[in-house]
């Protein structure tokens, strides 16, 4: 139970994902399940794929058919609640926001971590991007086995 443990239920996570057929292209997955007064994801999306509306307390709704996977909403979300996901053959490819000072290097293999903080898989860091516009949030491209599509959320030094 999210409000008791801080970990969303499996069904909430699944609902945040589109049908896997969409994931041949990168898509944003928004795990923002609570009505809080916030809307940078909506205002940062260049194609209008995210809707919150005039009442900024509403939960964001994404149209995965429109989302281009550009990643603008990822570094603009103050809640670190958005990541980009796609599937390529037997791999799951992620783009995640990362704010710890211990930043991995491209090519590193770190622990893939689940939403409860436990290690779930191996995670290969395929790119590390730090840009002025990201305002100190690092964006990591990470590759795991496709099995961990719904389990992986971040990385930790092994």
């Amino acid at each position: 139970m999210l409000k008791r443990t801080g970990v969303p239920d499996r069904s909430q996570i699944k609902d945040a994902f589109p049908d896997e057929s969409y994931l041949i292209k990168p898509k944003a997955i928004i795990e923002c399940f609570e009505a809080i007064p916030c809307n940078p994801c909506e205002t940062s999306c260049p194609v209008g794929a995210i809707t919150i509306g005039a009442d900024i307390n509403k939960i964001p709704v994404i149209d995965h058919a429109i989302c281009t996977g550009c990643g603008q909403c990822v570094h603009n979300c103050p809640g670190l609640a958005v990541h980009i996901v796609s599937i390529k053959e037997d791999k799951a490819l992620f783009r995640i926001p990362y704010e710890m000072p211990d930043v991995p290097k491209q090519g590193d293999i770190w622990d893939g971590i689940g939403r409860d903080g436990k290690t779930v898989c191996e995670a290969t860091i395929t790119a590390v991007t730090q840009k002025e516009g990201f305002d100190k949030t690092t964006i990591l491209n990470v590759e795991t086995d496709k099995t961990y599509l719904y389990d992986f959320i971040t990385v930790r030094r092994p």
Binding site: R4, E34, P101
Partner: protein, 365 residues
């Protein structure tokens, strides 16, 4: 000698800075008094990106919002004087204040005053809570983000409101290990997204759990935690001892009403607003003519609402002193709309209820 001022703003946090901006834009002369060495209030300690919408500078990091607000004061038409390291220690009839600054007491009399003193931390009663190694969340933030010092390496956070969750996250970023966040209530108090960020880092969050006592000779070495039942009673036999070298308390804030109380402004205890708060009308004016309040000092909320309230109060104070700005009605409506929008969701329930009770108290008076 008493120096005369047009508008005095006490406190240079988001509320005070925003009030200063709108008052200066109305061409008022403003004296802004801040007890810390720098302006910015709570914002200068906040390294995370803020929530809200664009109007409240959402997605900027707190300390950058402070800089933006301070820079925004530069080109306004009115005249601004800023006193830092200056503490208002007394407030009296006729809008007279005493300020401790430069090792002397100075007296000012103002046509209007905006009190934007923010809030102070609540503390928690438990055995040995005076042992070294036990801090308030604000103290931890000052140590860590302003002085670059960690309070400990294995830390227990007490309180899962946004402040507890955010400070725990900042501690992890700074290289400490937060072993658990304790929460007496059955549900996490702060935003779920903040809680999820912590869980990913391996921090456990224990609801229905509280601290029973701190253990240690000369400083904290461990603490005993215990589970609570539905009636918030301790469940005997659930005690557990955790090694820790620092305990951080984040159990809430209370508005800093002291100056207003001293001046004789009417106050009322409203738990939804954080405790004793000044009774204000819909223009944020207290029971003393020409004395206004905004931000956390009038009820614990957020920087987003503090900025809007500050802007609002600055405009109202200016009008009271005969400086009606061109777009006054439009600006006031914009502020009201923004506050409505920030507070209309489930997270705003408490503040809405608090404001309703406050209005009730006023109506009875």
């Amino acid at each position: 000698m008493i120096k005369h001022e047009e508008l005095i703003i006490i406190g240079g946090g988001p509320a005070g800075l925003s009030a200063a901006k709108s008052a200066l834009e109305a061409d008022l002369n403003v004296l802004l008094i801040e007890r810390y060495v720098r302006l910015g209030g709570q914002l200068i300690k906040q390294t995370h990106k803020f929530f809200g919408s664009k109007n409240q500078k959402a997605k900027m990091r707190g300390f950058n919002i402070a800089t933006l607000l301070i820079d925004g004061l530069k080109d306004a038409p009115g005249h601004l004087t800023v006193l830092t390291e200056a503490t208002v220690v007394g407030m009296y009839d006729e809008r007279i204040v005493t300020v401790w600054h430069d090792a002397t007491y100075k007296k000012y009399q103002a046509d209007a005053i905006i009190v934007a003193t923010g809030a102070s931390e609540k503390f928690l009663a438990f055995e040995n809570n005076d042992l070294p190694g036990i801090y308030g969340a604000g103290g931890v933030q000052t140590l860590m983000n302003l002085n670059g010092v960690l309070p400990g390496t294995d830390i227990i956070m007490v309180g899962s409101g946004n402040i507890g969750l955010i400070v725990a996250y900042q501690l992890m970023q700074a290289g400490a290990r937060v072993t658990s966040v304790l929460e007496a209530a059955p549900r996490i108090g702060g935003y779920a997204v903040h809680a999820s960020k912590l869980r990913r880092l391996g921090v456990s969050i224990k609801t229905r759990t509280t601290i029973k006592r701190a253990i240690g000779e000369n400083k904290v070495e461990a603490c005993e935690i215990v589970s609570l039942d539905d009636q918030w009673n301790i469940i005997e036999g659930t005690e557990e001892t955790i090694n820790t070298d620092a305990i951080c308390i984040a159990v809430g804030l209370s508005p800093m009403h002291q100056l207003l109380s001293m001046a004789g402004a009417k106050t009322s205890y409203i738990s939804e607003l954080g405790g004793l708060v000044p009774c204000v009308d819909e223009n944020n004016q207290t029971s003393i003519d020409g004395v206004f309040v905004s931000g956390d000092a009038s009820g614990i909320e957020e920087a987003s609402s503090a900025m809007v309230e500050g802007r609002f109060t600055g405009l109202i104070a200016a009008k009271k002193l005969g400086h009606v700005t061109k777009g006054f009605d439009k600006d006031i409506n914009e502020c009201r709309d923004q506050l409505f929008n920030l507070r209309r969701g489930p997270c705003g329930l408490k503040i809405r209820e608090g404001i309703r009770k406050l209005r009730e108290v006023n109506d009875h008076a």
